[in-house]
Amino acid sequence: MKFNTIIDGQSVEMEFSYSLNLLSIKPEKEMQIDLVQLGVDSYSLILDGKSHHLTINKQPEKYEITVDHYTHLVQVQDEMDILLEKFGMQSNTSSHAGEIHAQIPGLVSQLFVRPGDNVDIGQKLLILEAMKMENEIDSPIAGIVNDIHIKSGDKVEKGELIMDINN
């Protein structure tokens, strides 16, 4: 089976032969793979004799793969995706700059803006409190606050959409 993997924009076409636990990279590379599940989301990978500990965490549109402690963000395209891309049909799903997401989980302890407010770059929007520390969230752009999806006292998860700012 063929897959494209993309790390930091670098795309590699990989062809797997599952029956032999072999990976062939076009045009010349070949690797011996032995991947075994250890726990809920952890794996042991022996790659050409080298032993690695992996954890796998699916994010929207990408995979968070930790190899021996360090986390890589990997996008994967299978044969269908590659085909669609060839016809120029790949959808652009990246979020726009004015979407403020929670970079950390926490409690909204203070909210400094209201819908309709004008904000400058770097202006304080809210305080997220987590693990006894207060974390200030500033505006990455100048614009008008459109929608606010949370209120003071709410608990938000990492990555949750907090507000939209139109520029």
Binding site: Y18, L35, H69, M131, K132
Partner: protein, 500 residues
């Protein structure tokens, strides 16, 4: 000696104290908040009682409820750990009114030294050097502005009510003053129920060095040597070692003498820590005294072969210290890495979630003081400290190589931890050479990021293969609609070839 000790704390320090109590043959009582029901301190204690919901103010700071438990379970002593109520003299007094013994210094010493400004005044009186700054809490923004001008920017804002980096902020110019003071006061209030703050001169390239002291109720006061705590992020320590590679024998002796002098001046008993800032010319200044066990106390235990919690309990029982100053001859070198639930390469953002796997490091010279277990949820309620990894070696090189080995072994899945960050710091030239100050971490930030990126490129293939496996698996699940994702079959090995 005591029969039953209640530990008014959670996490790794509660576990740490329980361990020593058990070795001394004492019954142990844990208190816990509702989300902590399956935390290690609850599982390890002989008895455990719930004291409220997740929010600290309603559980671990819920004095009335904790006092009820002390009386209900008939505990004859209370160990407060660090943080929470450990420096709260009202609690210490209330505990003693129930008839239980307070395992900590006399409340008068807590009051004096716990109030960071009163402490500065006292130390100035003993003739010891103190970091330039205010001796009274800030009364207004204007008051702050004036004082800051006098001392000169940059300045540090600090909480009067307690340490640990809570409520601490650096200010470079008057513009930031108002905003930052607001934040600091709010953080201090939450941490210590006391929003008084004060100003201090921010020294250039200082080392954070602290001396562990111990006093009994029979007039014995002993110094157990220094700890080098200059590797800090967000004004909180993350890597500590002893002996300090920066301190020579002459300075060590001076610091110890000053620490003993300060300890004696406040009629102390029990474990205490005198924190100093030491500038690059080896001038030193008293910073504060912590009237409790310190997070990083294990490195002192490792080089001295002494159990500090055992000593705390002995002193609380009015026994004599089990060692004299002459018997304190440190041997070898010890390093501690704090394992936090945070992403060191993403601005130390806290990380929450369920821990799905832990593989602890073990073996010769490795000590683990942990506060979490597999299956436990790390929530936003508490300090992100998951545990501490300590290594000992005959010399600094051995201890350091052992720490790197142990960190590499240490796998925690489900949340981000400070393990990869610590690894990069320890392998950086400035730490390897023992040549660092409190400013080093900021200075080498970019080098660390670069090192991580280079390291990651080497393991690129493994990451790509893992991602393809996950993708293939998730596609299969969707296509076959088998309902259950195979990832939950955790005890079953699943080789790639099963997925054909």
């Amino acid at each position: 000696m005591f029969k039953k000790i209640l530990i008014a704390n959670r996490g790794e320090i509660a576990v740490r104290v329980i361990r020593t109590c058990k070795e001394m043959g004492m019954q142990t009582v844990a208190i816990y908040s509702e989300p902590d029901r399956t935390s290690p301190h609850v599982l390890l204690a002989d008895e455990a009682y719930c004291v409220g919901p997740g929010t600290s103010s309603k559980s671990y700071l819920n004095v009335i409820k904790i006092l009820e438990v002390i009386q209900k379970c008939n505990a004859d002593a209370v160990h407060p750990g660090y943080g929470f109520l450990s420096e709260n003299c009202d609690f210490a007094d209330a505990v003693q009114k129930t008839g239980a013994v307070w395992i900590g210094p006399p409340t008068k010493a807590i009051t004096t030294m716990g109030d960071k400004m009163a402490a500065r005044k006292l130390v100035l009186k003993t003739g010891s050097p103190v970091v330039p700054g205010t001796t009274e809490p800030l009364t207004s923004i204007n008051n702050a502005k004036e004082t800051a001008k006098e001392i000169g920017y940059p300045i540090l804002i600090k909480a009067a009510g307690g340490g640990g980096g809570k409520g601490m902020r650096i200010i470079h110019s008057e513009n930031d003053l108002k905003n930052v003071i607001g934040q600091a006061k709010s953080e201090a209030k939450k941490a210590f129920a006391d929003d008084r703050i004060y100003l201090e001169k921010y020294l250039e390239e200082p080392h954070h060095i602290e001396i562990q002291v111990f006093a009994d109720n029979h007039g014995n006061v002993v110094s157990l040597g220094e700890r080098e705590c200059s590797i800090q992020r967000r004004y909180q320590k993350i890597i500590e070692e002893t002996p300090s590679p920066f301190i020579d024998d002459k300075l060590r002796l001076k610091l110890s003498k000053t620490a003993l002098h300060i300890t004696e001046s406040c009629d102390y008993s029990g474990a205490g820590t005198i924190e100093f800032l030491v500038d690059k010319h080896k001038n030193f200044y008293f910073l504060e005294m912590n009237t409790r066990l310190q997070v990083e106390h294990p490195i002192t235990e490792m080089v001295n072969g002494i159990d500090l919690v055992k000593e705390q309990i002995r002193v609380a029982a009015r026994e004599k210290l089990s060692f004299t100053q002459e018997e304190i001859i440190p041997s070898g070198h010890a390093i501690e890495c704090r394992i936090y639930a945070e992403d060191g390469f993403n601005n130390f953002a806290p990380s929450t979630g369920i821990i799905t796997e832990i593989m602890f490091p073990h073996g010769l010279g490795v000590r683990m003081d942990e506060g979490v277990r597999v299956g436990q949820e790390i929530t936003i309620y508490y300090d992100p400290l998951l545990g501490k990894l300590i290594t000992w070696g005959k010399d600094r090189k051995t201890a350091l190589q052992r720490m790197i080995r142990a960190l590499k072994e240490f796998q925690i899945a489900g949340i981000e931890t400070s393990i990869p960050f610590c690894l990069m710091v320890l392998q950086h030239n400035s730490f390897q050479q023992g040549n660092y100050s409190t400013h080093t971490l900021d200075a080498i930030k970019n080098e660390l990021s670069e090192a991580v990126n280079n390291h990651k490129k080497e393991h690129d293939w493994a990451a790509r293969i893992g991602a393809v496996h996950a993708h293939h698996k998730s596609q299969q699940t969707i296509i076959t609609r088998k309902g259950q994702n195979k990832l939950n079959n955790w005890t079953v090995s699943g080789r790639l070839d099963e997925l054909q």
